[in-house]
Amino acid sequence: MKRFAGIVLCAVLLMTLAVGAAAAGKVTLVLSGWQASPEEQQLVKDALEVFAKKYPDIEVKYEPIVEDYSTKIKTMLAARNAPDVFYVDIFWAEPLMKRGMLLALDPYMAKTGTKRSDFAETLLNGFTYDGKTYGIPKDFNTLGLFYNKKMFDEAKIPYPTPDWTWDTLRDVAKKLTNVVGDPAKDRYGICLPVDAARFRPFLVQSGAQFVDKTGTKCLFASPEGIRALDFYTSFKTKDKSAVIPSEVGAGWGGDAFGKERVAMVLEGGWLIPYLNNNFANVEYGVCELPKGPAGRGNVYFTVSYSVAASCKHPEEAWLLVEHLTGYENQKKVLETGFALPTRIALGEHPFFKDNPNMAAIFKGYAYAVPWQFGEHSEKIMNVLNQAIEKVYLKNESPEKAMKDAVKEIDGILSE
């Protein structure tokens, strides 16, 4: 009797397993990104709904990571436990590509007829290593000059135009500064934080290259590089027309701008929804960054959808990446005004005509350098931040600060 019961039990178990296996013809993929704003998250969820209708056999679990995204992804990758599809920031893409943590997408792209040339080349190059494609940029941003219209009107200064030069920027920042000694009323021309990402465009505008051809010698200590640091820091140290966010009780530049403590700030498209949600009364415009002595320069930020090398269903994972970075989805994202498209075909979209602010940020891409410094991005960024900080807080000369920084960067590059 006992044995019989056992046999029945086994049979039942086997049957459920068989049923489970039939249902498992459905492939499950895990998708992760950092937790952006609720609106942005909704866009991902909407895109997944469309995907589920298109591919009913593929189930996608969306598992956003709340804090410390890159740390968590790196440890998950090391444990071979990573999500199948996830965001990779250009800032730390190289170490992952170099170590074979990401799946080369080229064979899968060929199968579905997606061409590299469909995407903006410079953006795609950030996720290319040894000629192979390790991610498809999902969107990008550059920096624009955000300006407070009311403050310009009050000071009777015309709004910024793309042909502004360094001198115009400095001059206007001085005119817009109004320090009365009351921290609640003081206004400053511009917010220039201790942040290498905001400083980077000025290096390009001044004509300073990051490294020489060998890639081991940093060139920021050139007269052009020193000129850029001198210009960036002079607003605060000489003209007293710039502040860092904490000086005006703000968490970051966009916050200082929203609180109307500064008239201008260098930020990307992410500031637009932030202002709409938190400071809807602020009237602002966005303009291309001013021209420097060596012409135009900017920096771009981009994030890809990549597939983990350990992914068990690469075919299906690619279909997901293709859908999320596809023409239809990017068009939808663009039309909500959240991010700029990476597909060349969308560059001429009528949206830009009606949205001069987004258009200004989009234009910066033509002359921008990527926001990354190769394998040691984070360390080099910290060294550059220190250089700005030394001039701000220790009154060190920009020349000495830059030369010391480059000495340190050369050490990091030759490791």
């Binding site: 740390t71 790196k74 170490p95 170590r99 904490s246 000086e247 900080e389 807080l393």
Partner: protein, 310 residues
């Protein structure tokens, strides 16, 4: 072995001993089973992790490729690392400031909370709240207090004192600002240790000092404090270890800045390992820190640890 009484050697007594042994073995097994969840957890996440980190400290390891043996190279590199030296100095200043202050404050709080006051329970809980608050939450609250337009500067301005200070943005005030926060949170924790010790001191000792005509202050200085010495030792050792390993507050409030003035060793370990993928080097730093703490504890033991008998 002594002969068993009753002239019947062996049999009954040895049987009893055997059954006892069996019982004690099974008792031991039960005991180990009870502690096994703890042993497995601590074994995996502390002992194994520590041993593996020691192994890694002799390797070059980037998390993804297999560890590559490099001998003492990581430790040698440490000797010339200026950031490590800065962090060591910061942590020394930090520990020297925090440990004596938090110990003194903890004793004072404990003595106060030990009085027969009205609302004693309320005061005891109120003192203890900072220490059960998560360090992340308290760090964020203090960031608001320390803002240039924050409450601290507002109070200073009411007192007509210099009030235009960016506490966390100024290299000379950032570290003291973090130290103040930590003293506020940890003193309460150590207060509990002293409170327990105070209640262990027999009343007869106090009665004796009263009969000898000691004032309240004299009693505290010559009776209470010496009798608290074992607890002081404990608190100083635990406090020093905690201070040398400061991380959360630095990570949340300043990220080691401005100008590396709040860079702590553990924060440096974190940036090297997770920022620059140098896990072997980070592990070597962690063991250098371990060596420093170990030596400090030995010194403290030599000078502070004494046994007290009533």
């Amino acid at each position: 072995m002594r002969a068993s009484p009753g002239g019947r050697p062996g049999t009954m007594w040895s049987r009893m001993a055997a059954s006892l042994r069996k019982e004690s073995v099974s008792e031991a097994i039960t005991g180990y089973l009870f502690v096994s969840p703890f042993l497995v957890t601590i074994g995996t996440f502390i002992f194994f992790a520590a041993v593996y980190a020691f192994y890694l400290s002799f390797h070059k390891y980037d998390l993804f490729s297999p560890p590559e043996f490099v001998g003492l190279a990581n430790y040698r590199k440490l000797l010339t690392n200026t950031d490590f030296r800065i962090a060591l100095r910061n942590v020394a200043v930090y520990t020297a400031g925090v440990v004596p202050t938090q110990t003194a404050v903890a004793i004072a709080l404990a003595v106060l909370a030990n009085q027969k006051l009205k609302l004693r329970g309320f005061f005891r809980s109120a003192y203890y709240v900072p220490c059960i608050t998560s360090s992340v939450a308290s760090s964020l609250i203090f960031m608001w207090l320390y803002y240039k337009q924050g409450i601290i500067n507002y109070i200073l301005s009411l007192l007509r004192l210099p009030s235009n200070i960016d506490w966390l943005g100024n290299p000379s005030t950032a570290l003291p600002a973090i130290m103040t926060l930590v003293i506020w949170t940890t003193s309460a924790y150590f207060m509990v240790v002293f409170l327990a010790a105070l209640q262990d001191i027999p009343t007869s000792v106090y009665e004796a000092s009263k009969i000898d005509g000691a004032s309240g202050w004299q009693t505290f200085w010559h009776v209470t404090l010496p009798l608290l010495r074992p607890s002081i030792f404990l608190v100083v050792v635990l406090g020093t270890i905690g201070c040398m390993q400061v991380f959360d507050q630095v990570y949340i409030m300043t990220r080691g800045g401005p100008l590396k003035s709040t860079m702590s060793i553990v924060y440096l370990v974190y940036t090297e390992a997770f920022g620059d993928l140098k896990f072997g080097y980070g592990a070597a730093m962690a063991f250098a820190l371990f060596a420093v703490i170990f030596v400090l504890t030995l010194i403290q033991r030599k000078y502070l640890d004494i046994k007290i008998e009533y």
